[in-house]
């Protein structure tokens, strides 16, 4: 690590990793913003929000927790639900505004559903990155 970067990192104020994770999950990019990385925060927010919006515009259904079906189906539903939930406030807002398209046939809705999950998975990457910055594992 260069000396200038190391000294900048050492002089940066300590931020709570737990609060960083919570913010980063709730609002994509908010973890980076909290840590003073404005540019990266904006890029993370726009990218994840646009991916999520495209999923909604393709009328992709959200995954639901279900006790029905075989073990594999339930695992897939559970994993998909976690991916949806990882988008934080975007997921809650969509559910709050009554977004619940039917789980119909066709590739568009199928891709839409996967785009929503992908947005959540990308947010998990952003959360991990924010956590590593907060714990000073990286700049």
């Amino acid at each position: 690590m260069p000396a200038a970067t190391a000294s900048a990192s050492a002089s940066a104020p300590v931020r709570s990793p737990i609060l960083t994770i919570l913010l980063a999950w709730l609002i994509p990019g908010a973890g980076h913003l909290f840590l003073g990385r404005r540019g990266r925060a904006a890029i993370a927010f726009v990218t994840i929000a646009v991916a999520f919006a495209i999923g909604l515009l393709m009328r992709g259904p959200m995954f639901q927790l279900s006790a029905n079906g075989d073990l594999l189906s339930r695992l897939i539903q559970f994993g998909g639900f976690l991916g949806d939930l990882a988008t934080g406030v975007l997921y809650f807002a969509a559910v709050w505004f009554g977004y619940a398209p039917p789980d119909g046939a066709g590739h568009a809705a199928d891709y839409g559903s996967k785009f929503i999950v992908a947005a959540g998975l990308l947010n998990i990457l952003a959360i991990v990155d924010a956590y590593e910055i907060a714990t000073r594992q990286k700049d």
Partner: protein
């Protein structure tokens, strides 16, 4: 409002978003991040066209 994207458009968009975030969360400098993001996008495109042509040859 509803949008209809075909397989190729969806794959390119997915590659774009994934590459941006992968570039964002790795490396140390902005230059390295940009380079890595572009590299990831390039790999996605190579895989997309490669698998596309492979399936075309497979199906005849």
């Amino acid at each position: 409002m509803q949008i209809h994207l075909d397989h190729f458009e969806v794959a390119v968009l997915f590659a774009l978003f994934s590459s941006i975030v992968l570039g964002l969360v790795t490396k140390r400098t902005d230059r390295e991040r940009l380079r890595y993001g572009l590299q990831c996008f390039g790999y996605f495109m190579v895989a997309l066209f490669g698998i596309g042509w492979f399936m075309r040859l497979l199906h005849g």
